[in-house]
Symmetry: C3
């Protein structure tokens, strides 16, 4: 289903009805409104102005649109900031981050939480039973603009209380942080400082706790609103629109209080600003986005939403906020939309209906131009609507490959990188990309999730492995799964100590090795490893290991690079360096085949994805790609055909007994 983001308050009321009519005509069924409208809903403290919103909902709903209504808590009014100036967050350099854009609040401020509860309750009471409202969006893009971690006096006090709740006694904190080191011992929780602005690096356990605290503040801030809405809007779903590559809070925990997850997909902007690509790759993908940047998040938010997820904001043309803002190639808006559906999205909502000619985002394209003429995305959205009407979507089935994804792992490696460039996100993205290049689908699994149903389980960056997770992984291996471990796995305890049995800690028996010592390296200086006669490269990290696991490949100086530990039919493979993409694929391919997976390697410009009996192909490149022949092995094309042109897609049905590509 298709949706669109709309801001009635930006337009003359006389336009609303026509806008709604055109939306429906185009095939739009859902409209999101209201998430930035606080000053229009309450222009002065306590003076509510809901009539315009009533009329907007009536106009849109009356035209046949279902509405997602936002709580406007991401943009508190100036009068509220002036009432309590200390509700502003502080950056890591100790500077207040003032009014004038958005997200200008500190999650820890009790006064602001009371105001949030108030405005949410008023809205929930007024619209909680409105039949046009299908769902609520709580706030907007938590964490955008680096807003999770505040270093304000307010945050400091809240952090002290959080520590008190976690540790009970100051002795426990001193033990957990190892404060005997450098005379950091505290005598009371109110002596605990925020870890920024220290002379040299602060205690990494303190950093990790601060990061946990900051994430927990988001969870409770979100729950505050969710509880009110549950009470007053019982029949309406709750959601939040997460933002790409933001990992400063635990999305799984926030989602526990929601009905479904959504995320905001801007493939061009993310490719320009978030990935670590060499210039030629940035150029290659400048107008398509990297072929994995959207899919990675689709799969992640399917996990976060426990299967239910949307794209809440889909890039419909050039945006305004990246370093550079090219136009998507013709076809890309349709491609991105179908890609989301292929990965299981219930809804794809474009941001936004009409380009607004003023303020910060005036250069952000909409489906319509500022003069209400269709922009290029308009026709592509319409094409999807027509195609989707003809193609009922089967249920999404579990993928054969699981990747462990732990937000706390990112925090730990940020707090304690050991090598300047070591990055959780980029390593996980590299591994995801390698698996996808083999033509395989991926599910992400949280550290509390159960990977035991998967045949191939990857842990590219899991420094924290609890006993419970270790047991679940052992269970999976015992039942024949293959587990692949990246370096640094199990290298730290909950408190960010080195385990008493050294890395991999709780996985020692399962993995069959012990880390003697490690080295971080400049990623510019590759370390070669020979594997089956070919020389591949690793970068940035090596670890020396001892133990019984079989050595499959070594570095030039003899340190094991890859090990294998067998447990019956189960296998545990461990990497002791960071392989580049070629190496990862070369190694993962036979391991995946060994557990019965059928590979369909694709060029770097093409991706495949199954949804039930349908297989989709997406061509991000400049050359045609050829899918399976119509009719062969029961292949029946539902969109496109065997020759998939650049920026085009294909979807075919296959008989269930056959392999995902429809060729045996």
């Amino acid at each position: 289903m298709l949706g669109v983001c709309y801001y009635p308050e930006h337009w003359n009321e006389s336009q609303w009805a026509d806008d709604a009519r055109r939306m429906v005509e185009l095939g739009i069924r859902i409209v999101r409104i209201g998430e930035f409208a606080w000053t229009r809903l309450e222009p002065n403290p306590g003076e509510y102005r809901f009539e315009w919103l009533d009329r907007a909902i009536e106009t849109l709903g009356g035209a046949g649109l279902k509405i997602v209504l936002g709580t406007p808590t991401t943009t508190p009014p100036k009068w509220l900031i002036d009432q309590m100036p200390d509700m502003i967050a502080y950056d890591r350099d100790g500077r207040p981050r003032g009014f004038g854009s958005r997200r200008h609040y500190d999650f820890s401020h009790e006064g602001y939480r009371r105001e949030v509860a108030r405005i949410t309750e008023v809205l929930a009471k007024r619209y909680g039973k409105n039949p046009h409202i299908m769902a609520w969006q709580l706030d907007n893009e938590y964490g955008c603009h680096d807003t999770i971690r505040s270093y304000s006096p307010v945050a400091r006090r809240a952090f002290q209380e959080w520590l008190r709740a976690r540790y009970r006694t100051i002795a426990a904190l001193n033990q957990a942080w190892g404060t005997v080191f450098w005379s950091m011992e505290l005598r009371d929780f109110n002596e605990a400082e925020l870890p920024n602005l220290t002379v040299t690096e602060a205690n990494p356990s303190a950093w990790l706790d601060f990061y946990r605290f900051a994430s927990d503040q988001v969870v409770s801030f979100n729950k505050l609103k969710a509880d009110i809405l549950r009470h007053h809007a019982p029949g309406q779903d709750l959601s939040h629109n997460y933002m790409g590559f933001i990992t400063e809070f635990d999305h799984f925990k926030v989602a526990a209080d929601l009905d479904f997850a959504t995320w905001d997909s801007y493939p061009l902007g993310f490719t320009d600003t978030l990935l670590r690509l060499p210039p030629e790759e940035r150029q290659r993908w400048q107008r398509t986005g990297h072929p994995d940047i959207a899919a990675f998040h689709h799969d992640l938010y399917r996990a976060v939403g426990r299967g239910r997820w949307w794209v809440m904001e889909q890039q419909p043309g050039p945006v305004n906020w990246a370093f550079h803002n090219p136009a998507p190639l013709p076809g890309m808006v349709r491609l991105w939309t179908w890609e989301a559906f292929a990965h299981g999205a219930e809804v794809v909502t474009y941001f936004r209906w009409r380009q607004v000619p003023f303020a910060q985002e005036q250069m952000h394209a909409g489906l319509l131009r500022p003069d209400s003429e269709p922009a290029p995305g308009y026709a592509e959205a319409g094409a999807v609507a027509v195609e989707a009407a003809d193609l009922p979507m089967p249920d999404t089935e579990p993928a054969p490959v699981a990747i462990l994804f732990d937000y706390a792992a990112d925090w730990l490696l940020t707090a304690h990188p050991q090598g300047r460039e070591y990055s959780f996100k980029h390593i996980v993205f590299d591994w995801y990309q390698a698996v996808r290049r083999l033509g395989l689908d991926v599910d992400f699994v949280s550290p509390d999730g159960d990977p035991s149903a998967y045949r191939l389980i990857l842990a590219p960056a899991s420094p924290l492995v609890s006993d419970a997770l270790a047991a679940r992984l052992a269970q999976a291996v015992a039942s024949g799964a293959t587990l692949v471990l990246g370096p640094r796995v199990g290298s730290k305890t909950e408190n960010l100590h080195i385990p008493s049995n050294l890395a991999p800690g709780a996985l020692a028996t399962l993995a069959g090795f012990r880390v003697e010592r490690v080295e971080s390296l400049d990623p510019a200086f590759a370390e070669p490893v020979t594997w089956h006669g070919e020389t591949y490269q690793t970068r940035g990290w090596r670890e020396a290991t001892e133990g019984g696991a079989k050595v499959l490949a070594t570095f030039n100086d003899g340190w094991p690079a890859l090990r294998e530990q067998r447990h019956g039919a189960g296998r545990v493979y461990s990497w002791h360096g960071l392989p580049d993409g070629d190496f990862l694929r070369a190694v993962l391919a036979p391991w995946a085949e060994a557990v019965g997976l059928t590979l369909h390697p694709v060029p770097e410009t093409v991706r495949l994805r199954r949804r039930g009996s349908l297989t989709f192909a997406f061509n991000y490149g400049s050359d045609p790609w050829h899918g399976p022949v119509e009719g062969a092995s029961g292949v029946r094309y539902r969109i496109g055909g065997a020759r998939v042109l650049p920026q085009q897609i294909a979807a075919w049905e296959r008989s269930p007994s056959h392999d995902p590509m429809g060729v045996e």
Copy 2:
């Protein structure tokens, strides 16, 4: 005429007479003094010490020198800062910019303005009728060291008052800024914040207004002094020494209160620190300066000064303040001086007479070394004096080419770049360079100026085009001129909104196209365009257009790159990408010839410039260049001859009927 900057307070009084004598001997006729001398004029609050200055003026004037006297307001004394510590400006990061160097004041501080008025009045009364004083310099280098925009509490209050005066009602401000976006609506002017230190980008209309405010504060600060001097020093000219590549305030508006403009020309320092040159070009020009860096400013300040302008500080040797400070090649001081005269300078004043052996600028060369021996610039200045005595200067005539130069365009593109590297200054410089490489002279025209007398009018970066400017441009085209528009022309309204008829807004009819959408690109990734069989490059920007103007060239994907709209004999050409220099010259050359201009393409190392019947040639390179043959078509060399050696110049007279090069 030649001048020099002199600081009597830096030297023993016994040296003054000898210094004055040597100046006159060298051919110096003007001396600038006093602009940093506040603590010597008023060592304690209200305790004036003018006797030394009286004697200095008498000594210099008595030797036959005319004096430019500075108001010392660029360096308020420590005792004044201590009286009102809030007179200090704040940087964009919110930090006070303290005492200890210069320009340590906030233009918005009323208390400081009172002090400025006081010291100016005292000086004006004492010296306003002194026959040796020919002119005053108000303050020194407004804007140097990024000092126009202050983010202080004082600036915040002044900005609020400025907004109140501009908008009258807060509703008007909310409309102009589009504050309905992100709930930014204000209820009163005293809620308006400075746009720095926000969570993400602040409203671009607010930024533009803040930049306008900051510029206006300079204008009124300058006018405060000008009014006092007009009253007490009626027969003396007023001026200010502008600094290279500083565009944070509107020089035209400041100059409206002055009699002539001056600027400070440091070709080597500017080339090292201000231009965007690849390393090989930085190396090539390290000891000559880029061949357009001085000329660009000469032409700009001729416009700012309404025809009357000086170089107030001419680099005489190595300086101290650039990243690297090489020595000019022998001949360059003379070349730079003559180049200023060729572009119409009344006076070239060297900074400084003698290198001072202490404090910040002790490594800044003077005409004399610290030990009073001549530095290399001394003889070169003397050579110019001798040559100039033999060569009466004809009046400067209008150039055939006009380039629109709008300070507000720079502010707008800074507030709202859309692509990270998009830069008003560098684009205008590129276009200037292209025209100059064709051997043409250039006049700059302000947005309030009248371009209608020009045959070729260029608007490389004019996002703001008022109805009045559009009408003047239409008038010029109607009378047969060619107008060349860069991308983004007319793309914004006065309030930085997208025009309701989209870009080019007020130029829609004249230009014959409408911008459908745009893309900003990484300048590292070129976009080729084929033009008359040759492939050229554009970088950083493209725009898709519709409309009736003829498409002259397209990008690879068919977007028009160049369009032509004819109006009788008039032509309007529009660029829809940012061409590099080769492309600009290839395209501008036939267009210039079509309006009757005779081109004389020069190598990248040579520049030509006419002044009345004289043509000058300047050789910045390492190979000789050959001018027209003596006698041919009435050519008569007044300086040098047809063979112009590296770092040398030539000047020849031509008969008026002939083309500027003196060859038909």
Copy 3:
């Protein structure tokens, strides 16, 4: 002798005895303890807990170990910070540098000085006569983490008092700083501001005085403790562990109050973070360290310690704090240890005994792993212990080459660089490296030291040359020495003015030239000089000179690049550019031979060093190197043999009459 750093407070008391036993078994004779233990010694204000330390000392001492006891003043407890929050230092951006790591104090805070005196006195009284304590370490790594220069209000007041003491009258300060420039004149010392956060560069003389002040504060802070310990611990030596490449305070002056110097040697971390190496060199040395990085400091601290010096912390494996932290190649720990002994170290102390599994340094290797198993450094330390027992060390003799090393020169060139990349440290390191590549030993000489015993004296970066130093250098030259001067020598007076006779100031007569003017250049743009038919490169600086000294080589434009002034048998050579390594070696080689030195050029991977009759060779490379043949000219190998494998060493005795390599 070997030592190790140990933290009894990090481990269960039950481990102490076993640890002590294993240390002794390994050959360790000295153990350093206590320098970070304040909260364990005084958990609450005035509540002392020394019993555990008594027992630790008894256990270690009882096992036969001599103890170096640290004063814990580098890590004041949180309760102390809370008692006087203004004891925190401020960074150059004006931000307090808070509690949470170490070195969180301002050297100028009188209250903290009283606390430092108190805790030092208590410790001195308790342990000053303990027979196990052989020495004290005062504080830890002064200056680590950029902690010498504080910009706090406390520092500002102290700076004003320091200025008052230095100048007596404000007129003298105004004269010294040249405050007449830019109206900077002060009326009282309490008007003096810190030089940070000014609008543009502050007065360089003020900066230099501020740097001197900051250094003096360290000297007096250190002396405060030294005086107390001298009184209460009369038989115990005093020392401090200096840190690599830290030059913000005058090590010679601090050492004047100590008995010996020590330094902390981390070759891999320093190579990664401190040197300016092209990527291929950073890669080449990533697991060995640069072959001169340790030796340079060994030689420097031998000078600082007036002949008596240790390595107090020797890297034993990978560390945690560099950008990247590789593992040393096998053999390097032994090599580094022997290299220290070869340069004259009395003791090499490894940091640390056992890797601690928590807090900031948990990834810093020890001799033992966290599980108490030996790490690779353990066996290498043991090997040294065995070898050293067999090889009594002769006394260190003076080297033939002296390099002048003046901390104030670094401050001056930092305050007043003139070219962005000009760096005292890197220039001195380049010259050191060139001499060492010729196979020569080096002594550093302070500006107050006497170079007259050396045959070859180098002054690579000495802008300050006092009359007294000039006289000592003249004396050396008069007695036949060769003096080699780098550019900028003698270019400034004590107050950072240009000398009235211009550079080289006090050396004018001796050097035979005068600097007319200078230029700083982008080091990317080399300036070639031809020398004996070969073309070499200089970078970053040139100076034009006049005078009688013979010109040996010129730049392309004729400026002299190298000059020679003879004084009887003595020679003064002067550089007027910054040569690269090849050029330096080509020029220094014949000059060194001319004063009778025998060169033994080594590849870039090998270094030689003599200690008395022993010559050592160190192979940092990947190819074997061949030393002199056993028996030839009396050569007798004491460690290794003529074939020195990668990461291996050799040491041979030679008959005294023979040259250092043992070959005639």
